[in-house]
């Protein structure tokens, strides 16, 4: 132990001498030790992270234009998605109310209802049935539509007794149709009406819309990729000399590429934020009219704007598109710039 310790100082001195004078004498390892390169890797990324932002800040107007274009391109599919989501929400609110209305002959009164009820249940099984007498119906009619004056003119109450059936909401449409037909066959029933078809149609329309949204989202994603790629391309052209010099003094392609990727990152995330802003603005502007419309339809569900998960997805999509767009555009170009003098 002691001997070893005693040996150390001269060794160290030797090393130092080697470092000072001998650098050029021996062939040195070209690659730095792993620990150092690991730290340098993160430092390089942090530097490029802000460098990328700085490049955008130096061209504020151009950056803002690009960000706005990306924002609009992303806002369109996301906005359409929200419209559909709201429509679906509306339809779901009415789904529970899938109901079958039986308008009875004018000669029928509320006294006849229990008898008819039991015969209906004998035919189709137990089901919740509500009876509405002509007076109740008239009162509702007056309240809902506000035509009290017109009703007064009629003098006599023209409304029949109505039975409202609430079938199992999971029943498939064909079975519902069959049930409606069998009830229509009752002589006491003037008209059996299934209040469902338009909901089915709405579902069909929103399903179609959902597909259209996906298609639109793919198209606009390509638009965002191209926009970011194009601004990266312009940036490469503008920095041609800088890139050449960096290559001359030993920069790796990764080093040169990094700030461009982070510029893409910033453009993407800022564009996504712009899209969220635009949609929030649109939601705010539409809120009043939509609320009024919903009120007229007796629906108190709230219009749903962009929420946290959706916002997160939009931001993530922006980042991915930004980095990918820059990567695709820059990769090829950087290899084409030959360092020369």
């Amino acid at each position: 132990m002691l001997k070893k310790r005693a040996n150390r100082p001269p060794k160290r001195r030797q090393n130092r001498r080697k470092k000072l004078g001998g650098a050029s004498l021996r062939s040195e390892r070209l690659r730095p030790p792993l620990g150092r390169s690991f730290l340098a890797f993160w430092v390089a990324h942090i530097l490029a992270f802000f460098h990328g932002l700085g490049r955008l800040a130096r061209e504020p107007l151009g950056s803002l234009l690009t960000i706005t274009i990306i924002g609009i391109a992303m806002a369109l599919p996301v906005g359409l998605h929200l419209v559909l989501k709201n429509l679906q929400g509306l339809a779901e609110g009415w789904d529970d109310a899938t109901q079958l209305s039986l308008f009875l002959n004018p000669s029928m009164t509320l006294q006849d209802v229990p008898n008819l009820k039991s015969r209906i249940e004998a035919q189709i099984g137990r089901v919740r049935i509500e009876a509405k007498g002509p007076e109740q119906a008239l009162t509702e009619f007056k309240q809902a539509v506000g035509v009290a004056e017109a009703v007064k003119v009629l003098g006599e109450n023209p409304l029949p007794v109505v039975l409202v059936l609430f079938p199992d909401p999971d029943m498939d449409p064909a079975a519902l149709d069959a049930m409606t037909a069998s009830l229509q066959a009752f002589p006491e029933v003037e008209l059996a009406q299934l209040d469902l078809r338009w909901i089915q149609r709405l579902h069909a329309i929103t399903d179609l819309g959902e597909r259209a949204t996906l298609l639109l989202a793919s198209l606009f994603s390509i638009a965002v990729l191209l926009t970011i790629g194009n601004s990266a391309r312009i940036e490469v052209a503008r920095r041609r000399e800088e890139i050449a010099v960096e290559k001359l003094v030993g920069a790796t392609t990764a080093f040169i590429r990094r700030p461009f990727l982070y510029t893409g990152f910033w453009l993407g995330i800022a564009g996504a934020a712009m899209a969220i802003l635009l949609i929030s603005l649109a939601t705010l502007l539409l809120d009043g009219p939509v609320r009024e419309l919903l009120r007229l339809y007796d629906n108190d569900s709230l219009i749903s704007g962009i929420d946290l998960p959706l916002g997160g997805i939009v931001l993530l999509a922006g980042v991915l598109l930004g980095v990918l767009g820059a990567l695709i555009a820059v990769n090829r170009l950087l290899h084409r710039i030959e360092p020369d003098w």
Partner: protein, 229 residues
């Protein structure tokens, strides 16, 4: 330090820039490369720095085989060589400090203090310590070239290549630049300077290589008498 074995370079289109050049330069030597323009001086320097690839033969730099270098190693190879250009190649939108710091940043130097110390040391060497905040355009031609030299030596490469470094400068400034090269040689750096300024070279008594049409036609150390003439 530098060995060329039968090195030749043929460009696409058939132009033969170098023909079977053999050469050996020892560590710490300072060598002048002369010849008329188009003789192959720049080509030779570019091959050494792997800016261009040899068509035949072998180049060894500091024990590394340049002709058989993987793409991954090329950037790191260039970091071990300081290159000085005729038109200095400074970036006009960066300060003198940032220009000189570029090779260090590229090399992953992440401690600001260390970076500052090395950049200032390099600027001090070329006598421009007080101009670190200036932009290249506000400097004179000679000063710009000195910034270029500071950038080339900032990460202490063992080999320095200069291609017509004084091509745009008047004789006095050119002499200053060459004196800087002598300084670097004296601390052990190998220096290879391509120049056709024979008058200037004559006053520095150093080994001289002469290229003509891609052939190395002369390799000699001028004697002191000739130098004094």
């Amino acid at each position: 330090m530098l060995t060329l074995n039968n090195v030749s370079k043929r460009y696409r289109g058939g132009h033969e820039a170098l023909k079977a050049v053999n050469l050996q330069i020892d560590p710490g030597e300072m060598v002048f490369l002369t010849g008329h323009s188009g003789a192959g001086k720049s080509t030779l320097l570019k091959l050494i720095a792997h800016i261009e690839q040899v068509s035949g033969g072998q180049i060894m730099v500091d024990g590394r085989n340049v002709s058989r270098m993987s793409a991954r190693d090329i950037p790191r190879h260039r970091r071990r060589i300081g290159i000085i250009f005729q038109d200095n190649r400074l970036l006009p939108d960066r300060t003198v400090f940032d220009n000189v710091a570029l090779p260090l940043v590229i090399d992953g130097c992440h401690r600001h203090r260390e970076l500052q110390r090395m950049v200032r040391a390099a600027l001090d060497r070329v006598g421009l310590l007080n101009r670190e905040r200036s932009y290249p355009m506000s400097l004179s031609g000679g000063e710009q070239q000195r910034v270029g030299i500071a950038r080339a030596v900032v990460n202490k490469p063992p080999l320095l290549l200069a291609d017509e470094p004084t091509g745009n400068l008047d004789p006095d400034l050119s002499r200053d630049i060459f004196n800087l090269f002598v300084d670097f040689q004296q601390v052990g750096v190998t220096v290879l300077v391509a120049s056709h300024d024979l008058e200037l070279l004559t006053s520095f008594n150093r080994r001289r290589l002469k290229l003509e049409h891609g052939n190395l036609i002369a390799d000699f150390v001028p004697d002191v008498e000739e130098a004094r003439e």
